[in-house]
């Protein structure tokens, strides 16, 4: 039904628009209220969280304190346990690994370190020796002449003295050993067998100590930590065996420092020392 009166139609329209405006105003008001509420709750939440964090902080500090106390307690306990009756593992005395065995190991290591003559080197060496022998004969002849020369034949004296000096103070080169190579091989394999034997003995004793919960010596714990790191027991045992073997081979007796003073010269000992240092640092990591 359509209004025919235009004024009335306009009035209606105005009326409708007014209603629309009002509803819009209402909606804006609602939105404002919502926003304010939201803001308030967010602020509250943040305040809450801040409070919680502060509380957690306090707790962490408390925990750190108690961990520290625990640590000190543990140290004291460790000392008391060591002083007490607890059975200790002995990794310092090895009556079953005798001097001959150690000597065999060392001889094997020496054989590995020794450089062998190549045939060419042996040939030059032999040539040098024959040259030395020839010089020696000449020098002896010259010295022989010195025993009969009249004192005023100075030129001859000088000549013979020079010939003599060609040999004086010189060393005869060491002769190359023909069966050195074969001997070395035998020594090397003997050394390897000895090492395997010693390793077996040491490992058995360490395994026993672990199995019976014996107290490790101070140097052992300093070097390898209080126990095998989880999942690496076999590697740890291997390294521990080598540490003990190193002490045995190189006569390290320090009660605190497992490997003793670092060796200065290059060689088998230095290599082993460096390897053990690296490996053990790995096991001590928390």
């Amino acid at each position: 039904m359509k209004n025919i009166d235009p004024v009335k139609a306009l009035d209606d329209k105005v009326e409708r628009l007014k209603k629309d405006l009002k509803s819009l105003g209402d909606r804006i008001d609602n939105a404002q209220t919502d926003a304010a509420q939201n803001k308030l709750s967010t602020t509250n939440q943040i305040r809450d969280t801040t409070r919680k964090i502060a509380k957690t902080n306090d707790r962490v500090t408390e925990l750190a304190d108690s961990v520290h106390r625990l640590e000190r307690l543990l140290v004291a306990l460790n000392r008391k346990v060591r002083a007490g009756e607890t059975r200790k593992a002995d990794f310092d005395n090895w009556p079953e690994i005798g001097k001959p065995l150690i000597a065999r190991i060392l001889a094997g290591q020496e054989a590995y370190a020794r450089r062998t003559f190549t045939p060419q080197e042996a040939k030059t060496r032999r040539k040098a020796i024959s040259e030395y022998d020839r010089l020696a004969h000449e020098a002896i002849d010259a010295a022989e002449a010195l025993t009969t020369l009249p004192p005023n034949a100075e030129a001859l004296w000088r000549k013979k003295y020079k010939q003599w000096q060609a040999i004086a103070g010189k060393q005869r080169p060491e002769a190359p050993d023909e069966d050195e190579h074969a001997k070395d091989t035998a020594v090397k394999s003997a050394g390897n067998e000895a090492i395997a034997e010693a390793r077996e003995l040491i490992r058995t004793r360490i395994e026993d100590a672990v199995a019976n919960d014996l107290l490790f010596p101070a140097w052992f714990e300093n070097m390898l930590g209080p126990a095998a790191p989880p999942g690496k027991a076999d590697d740890w045992l291997y390294t521990a065996t080598d540490v003990v073997l190193y002490r045995l081979l190189h006569d390290v007796t320090s009660p605190a420092n497992a490997l003793g003073r670092a060796p200065q010269e290059q060689g088998h000992r230095r290599t082993l020392h460096d390897r053990l240092i690296v490996e053990c640092a790995d096991y001590r990591k928390p």
């Binding site: 002896i140 010195l146 025993t147 004192p151 005023n152 004296w157 000088r158 003295y161």
Partner: protein
């Protein structure tokens, strides 16, 4: 007195011969060859020292005489043929003469004869100075060089 250095030289030569016998018997390959060699080396040094003593005993007087002659000749040349340029050779010769007068034989094993050569060169230089003037210093220098080379 004069026989004594000779006797000592003969003695030392005999000792050296004995040491050489031992060295020859051992041969270069034997284990005690180095020590025997060192012993023989000492004997050789001793023989050379004994020979030095013989030479020293023989040359002390001639060396001193030539040195004194050189000094006197130098004085004569300086007075008779005075020349600034000639002073160089004369003074050098006098220096050598003074050194040889103080110690006519020295301590090095070849030194007695080296000193003889040096002082003879210095004397020659002094005699040549009237002719060669300062250039005669070259003769002195040559003699001293020879001396230094011998005791090196």
């Amino acid at each position: 007195m004069a026989a004594e250095p000779f006797a000592r030289l003969a003695d030392r030569q005999h000792a050296l011969r004995t040491a050489l016998r031992a060295l020859q018997a051992a041969g270069p390959g034997s284990p005690d060859f180095p020590s025997l060699l060192a012993d023989t080396g000492k004997e050789v040094e001793a023989v050379l020292q004994a020979r030095h003593d013989v030479e020293a005993a023989r040359l002390t007087i001639p060396n001193r005489a030539i040195a004194a002659g050189t000094a006197i000749a130098a004085l004569v040349v300086v007075i008779g043929w005075f020349d600034g340029w000639s002073l160089l050779s004369v003074l050098l010769a006098v220096a050598v003469a003074a050194a040889v007068l103080v110690d006519p034989t020295g301590h090095g094993i070849w030194e007695p004869r080296a000193r003889t050569a040096a002082i003879a060169a210095a004397g020659l230089a002094v005699l040549l100075t009237p002719l060669a003037h300062g250039w005669a210093a070259l003769a002195v220098v040559a003699g001293v060089a020879w001396w230094a080379w011998r005791i090196r």
